[in-house]
């Protein structure tokens, strides 16, 4: 369990936030991100992805723990109150630790 253990932060939120969030994520120090389109249901109701306004995205960021928790708390403070959003974190083993 050396320095090739990083954090995987997963965010599920409204598609409308995509452009804003990736700016935040990069500004806070992440070296990259991966996005897939999603649908789902949570406390703020069902998001069916049937058209633009009702889709979700699922963003994954691999980074070291400090950056991950910085992103997490920034998102929590800025968006949790007004947007459909969840986030969760876990440890992942990476191959080239310097990259993240």
């Amino acid at each position: 369990m050396s320095d090739n253990i990083k954090k995987l932060l997963t965010i599920v939120t409204e598609a409308a936030l995509e452009n804003i969030l990736i700016k935040d994520i990069e500004r806070l120090g992440a070296q990259g991100y991966t996005i897939t389109d999603a649908r789902g249901k949570g406390g703020r109701g069902s998001r069916s992805a049937a058209w633009d306004a009702s889709g979700n995205i699922r963003i994954e960021v691999v980074s070291d723990a400090a950056i991950a928790s910085q992103i997490a708390s920034h998102l929590k403070e800025t968006y949790y109150d007004n947007y459909a959003m969840i986030l969760f974190m876990s440890d992942v083993e990476v191959i080239r630790p310097g990259k993240f």
């Binding site: 409204e14 409308a16 804003i20 109701g45 069916s48 992805a49 049937a50 058209w51 633009d52 306004a53 889709g55 968006y79 109150d81 007004n82 947007y83």
Partner: protein
């Protein structure tokens, strides 16, 4: 006789309410909207090319003023009669101050099916009307707050998908002219009503999802969703008459004023006034006003335009 494209809307709405599996892939919804917006833009551009642009400037200013006045009327109704929170009232007001491309497309089909003339600059007015209400809505909700990133709002609004497609279409139509565009006519012009039918099928399906959330918000939203467009139509028709438009053009401006946005404004509000509940405004504009306008409203507003012309026109 009801226009067949409206039957597609009713079909979509029924299928959605019956919880059928039917849905259009999002990519198709996108294609269909893109084609409608481009075609409407090009139609306008072709006509605009035929007249001097400068004469339109004063009209454009009046139309912008209409776009500022409408949300300012809607807001107090929502805030004090409807008892909505400041941000929710501001957001709904912005939806009703702005316009709906879908409604405009149905109106275009309605007029052309009846051979009714209307002034060519209407697509330009659609663009003019879409924007001011958004800005007014943000200012009502937040004041001239420093927090608002106006550059971003401007970008979002001016370069949003629907505005850019309509402006692009306008410019292409303007530059190329009718004759040149003959080669792409089979796709964009001849298929227009069929594409509109597919669009309305999907709009019916989407609307069906919003009808449900109406129950939650009580009868005020339903009343507002029908009476506000009527009021706006009166203002729109009066403005049209004042500007010396034909009956068709007067009706068109009434229809534009009566329509409520469900694409550009929700997107802008989501980013700029996130505290506003998007379900609320969509339930009203999509669940009530859009179906009311396309099924019943358009002929009413046309009658309104005739009436106003009979009294004040000529």
């Amino acid at each position: 006789m009801i226009d067949p494209v409206i039957l597609f809307f009713i079909f979509g709405l029924s299928a959605g309410l019956l919880r059928s599996e039917l849905r259009l892939p999002p990519a198709i919804y996108d294609l269909v909207s893109i084609m409608l917006l481009l075609t409407i833009g090009m139609k306008g551009g072709i006509e605009l090319a035929k007249q001097p642009f400068l004469e339109l400037l004063p009209q454009m200013l009046v139309v912008i003023a209409l776009g500022i006045v409408l949300p300012l009327i809607a807001f107090p109704l929502l805030r004090y009669l409807g008892r909505f929170s400041r941000v929710d009232a501001a957001s709904i007001a912005a939806h009703y101050g702005s316009v709906s491309m879908g409604t405009f497309a149905v109106a275009v089909a309605y007029m052309s099916a009846r051979g009714i003339y209307y002034e060519e600059q209407m697509p330009l007015f659609v663009v003019m009307l879409e924007i001011p209400a958004i800005l007014v809505g943000i200012v009502i909700a937040k004041g001239f707050s420093k927090q608002t990133n106006w550059a971003q709002v401007g970008h979002e609004v001016l370069l949003g998908k629907s505005i850019i497609l309509m402006i692009g279409g306008l410019l292409i139509g303007w530059i190329a002219g009718e004759e040149q565009l003959a080669s792409i006519k089979p796709l964009f012009f001849d298929l227009f009503k069929g594409i509109l039918a597919l669009f309305l099928l999907e709009m019916g399906l989407i609307t069906s999802k919003h009808v449900g959330s109406l129950k939650k918000y009580g009868p005020f939203l339903i009343v507002f969703g029908i009476s506000m467009p009527m009021l706006s139509a009166v203002l729109g028709a009066s403005t049209g008459c004042l500007l010396g438009f034909s009956v068709g053009g007067t009706a068109m401006l009434a229809i534009l004023a009566a329509s409520a946005s469900y694409i550009a404004v929700p997107a802008a509000m989501r980013i700029s006034v996130p505290e506003a509940n998007p379900t609320l405004s969509l339930a009203a504009s999509l669940g009530i006003t859009f179906p009311f306008n396309v099924v019943i409203g358009i002929p009413i507003y046309y009658a309104m335009a005739e009436y106003i012309h009979a009294f004040f026109g000529a």
